[in-house]
């Protein structure tokens, strides 16, 4: 059972579930194509397998549990992109991947192929518990109370095909972090779990409920400061049962748990959950995982066998002294690792002119090779639509940089203004009101000079093509929301949102702008920030100090000349 693999190894039971589900969908597709199933009968079945009908084609959303991939899985995704799509895939803010050009007739073959690598599309749509997301640096960064992936995997096993929670009032999203620095946006999730130790050193979860974005954004409320880890699943069951019982089903715009929590008040909701929890604990079949089951999950993650290395690498130091591009990449795309001599490499999927989150089949195959050779066969997907190589030796960074550069993935802009989150928008999405990707590329085009981008520093721009907020605009330092004004695209800008441990919803800047004024407006925001900022301030710091005033003046003076 124990393995040297750094990621979870699926067992025969997992494989059987995935294969059975693929076979079941093949039968459903055949019946739909023959006319034995009507579209109304088929649509819920297709959605339960991650297939949406978009503007130009079907879209298949494939689950990447807590954003963790190995080389085998990445190659399977590359094959789907190459054989059944137009040669690329789109990594999403749910740490999943979407293929925008698939055909319904091919879907059974795609799911069969994914199943060979232990992948599937189960619960990537529908009113169920969706992919649980986590910190992309899990297990690699200093200061974690535990490895959150253990708990994410346990949640995956508990929530997959859970008979009681597959028909909730609306979709349901859980995020887990074990670090005080929140890289998983847990405060804007239906449930956010912060794994940490209490004053007695006992491991537990701080539980937040009722966060979310979409039409009505809320920051989650803490309903329990310390939930002993062994009680996680009885408590989650209590929350979900409370939601299932009290959540609204009469109005889909008011059906998310955030509306219930806001309506009742967090304290009252917490009391309901505690009362339900007492009942759950008396169920004849316990909800909580036995200790041995959790130990088994932990064991199936194996142990990364790190080498004992010096904290500094002479080879790396020399290479970056010799190569200014590598030096810039190192400044912007590397994060400290918990083990001496190692580093976390962030791979930006935000190259100039590229749709944020897109990767070609060739890039995916090459990334699989790089991960296999240099990062203990692990790749992470981030909710900011980038990838991470979590365990790279400092000695290998120059080689990794060269390998990434060869496939166009060495863009040194992590966290900067060009590192934009954008949903597919009206280029693809049937629900969108406006395009998001061209706004992102237009902004990027104004900051192609890496010196200027570095001068601006951290600035998180997030763009959604409609109020569903797949592009997380509410929590962008600069949020951009596409709206439809009598059939024309306009964009509302918000400032000061953030998704981290100080999460807040952004403030509206002013009247919506037409498409061709948005990138210029962002440029004006940057200029105002550079004028206003004090030594060491990031954009968000300056905004929180000076407020909307200078930014509003800058944008509307420029955007609406007399």
């Amino acid at each position: 059972m124990p393995t040297s693999a750094a990621h979870y190894l699926y067992d025969e039971f997992d494989a059987a579930v995935v294969a059975d589900r693929a076979a079941e969908f093949r039968s459903q597709v055949e019946r739909r194509l023959s006319g034995a199933l009507t579209e109304d009968q088929f649509k819920p079945l297709r959605l339960m397998n991650g297939m949406y009908l978009q503007l130009h084609a079907y879209m298949l959303r494939v689950a990447i549990p807590y954003g963790v991939l190995d080389s085998e899985k990445m190659r399977a995704l590359a094959t789907v992109a190459r054989r059944w799509d137009e040669g690329f895939g789109h990594f999403t803010t749910r740490q999943n991947i979407q293929f925008n050009w698939v055909k319904l007739k091919d879907a059974p073959d795609i799911l069969d192929h994914l199943a060979t690598a232990g992948m599937h599309a189960i619960q990537t749509s529908g009113n169920c518990i969706r992919n649980t997301t986590s910190d992309p640096y899990a297990g690699a960064v200093e200061g974690e109370a535990d490895d959150p992936r253990i708990w994410c995997e346990a949640i995956r096993q508990w929530s997959t095909l859970h008979p009681e929670f597959n028909w909730l009032p609306r979709k349901f999203k859980i995020a887990v972090t074990a670090s005080d620095t929140d890289r998983a946006a847990i405060r804007v999730h239906d449930i956010g779990l912060h794994l940490r130790r209490n004053a007695d050193g006992e491991l537990g979860f701080q539980v937040l409920v009722g966060g979310g974005q979409g039409r009505t954004p809320y920051i989650g409320s803490v309903i329990r400061e310390h939930l002993p880890v062994r009680r996680l699943f009885s408590y989650l069951t209590a929350i979900l049962r409370t939601y299932n019982r009290l959540g609204r089903r009469d109005n889909m715009f008011k059906a998310r748990i955030k509306i219930l929590v806001a309506t009742l008040g967090a304290a009252a909701f917490a009391r309901d959950v505690e009362a339900e929890w007492e009942r759950v604990l008396t169920d004849s079949v316990p909800s909580d995982f036995p200790e041995e089951a959790l130990a088994q999950i932990r064991a199936r993650f194996g142990v990364v066998e790190f080498e004992t290395l010096p904290a500094r690498s002479a080879a790396f130091e020399q290479a970056r002294a010799d190569d200014r591009r590598l030096a810039r990449f190192a400044r912007n795309n590397l994060t400290a690792h918990k083990v001496a001599g190692y580093v976390i490499v962030n791979v930006s999927l935000k190259g100039d002119g590229v749709a944020p989150g897109d990767a070609s089949a060739a890039q995916m195959d090459a990334l699989a090779d790089i991960a296999e050779r240099f990062s203990h066969d692990e790749i992470r997907v981030t909710h900011e639509q980038n990838l991470v190589l979590p365990h790279v030796k400092l000695d290998d960074v120059a080689l990794v940089f060269a390998s990434l550069d060869a496939i166009g993935l060495a863009t040194p802009n992590i966290g900067q203004i060009g590192d934009i989150i954008a949903c597919p928008g009206l280029d693809y999405c049937a629900l969108a009101n406006a395009r998001a990707i061209p706004i992102a590329t237009a902004i990027q085009a104004r900051f192609t000079d890496p010196d200027r981008a570095e001068l601006v520093g951290e600035m998180k721009v997030k763009i959604s093509g409609c109020i569903n907020a797949c592009g997380h605009h509410h929590v962008g330092h600069v949020g951009i929301l596409g709206v439809d004004k009598k059939g024309e695209e306009f964009y509302q800008i918000t400032l000061g949102g953030r998704a981290d441990e100080k999460a807040r919803v952004g403030d509206a800047l002013g009247a919506a702008l037409p498409f061709d004024q948005v990138a210029g407006a962002v440029d004006s925001l940057v200029e105002a920030y550079l004028r206003e900022r004090l030594e060491g301030e990031r954009f968000i710091d300056t905004y929180e100090r000076v407020g909307l005033g200078p930014f509003k003046e800058a944008v509307y003076a420029d955007a609406h000349p007399a």
């Binding site: 739909r32 194509l33 023959s34 006319g35 009507t38 579209e39 009908l53 978009q54 503007l55 130009h56 084609a57 079907y58 137009e86 050009w101 698939v102 055909k103 319904l104 007739k105 749709a355 009206l426 280029d427 693809y428 049937a430 629900l431 395009r435 990707i437 061209p438 590329t441 439809d484 009598k486 059939g487 024309e488 695209e489």
Partner: protein, 124 residues
């Protein structure tokens, strides 16, 4: 832009998912080859026939058009994107065939709601 208001019937192909337009008793990939209806009553009647083809197409609805240089062009920006392909990927979708019909759609301006599509979304 012509003052003439026309309609066409659009859908997505069930098997492939691609955008199609009603032409005679079948469906075509290009709007330029679609049947155009000047009389709303004729469009509604043809829509009912088209909707019956449940093993060939899904999400069938009428779109509003005008003529630009003699070519049919959707009034709605959303429908222009459906008739062309994603603007961010000019190498993909129907726009790759080029020609005057595609050029007319690509260079159209202005907007209007896609009324047929809107009613579909409301039903979802």
């Amino acid at each position: 832009m012509s003052d003439e208001r026309l309609q066409a019937i659009t859908a997505n192909d069930l098997r492939e998912g691609c955008v199609v337009f009603r032409a005679g008793d079948g469906w075509t990939a290009q709007l330029a080859d679609a049947d155009l209806f000047g009389d709303p009553a004729h469009g509604e009647a043809a829509l009912e026939t088209a909707k019956a083809e449940t093993t060939r197409v899904v999400d069938v609805y009428l779109i509003d058009l005008t003529l630009e240089g003699g070519q049919p062009v959707p009034l709605s920006y959303r429908e222009r994107i459906r008739a062309l392909g994603p603007p961010v990927h000019p190498d993909l979708g129907k726009q790759t065939v080029g020609g005057p019909a595609i050029e007319a759609i690509a260079h159209a301006t202005g907007g209007a709601r896609s009324t047929g599509r809107l009613s579909l979304i409301k039903r979802k």
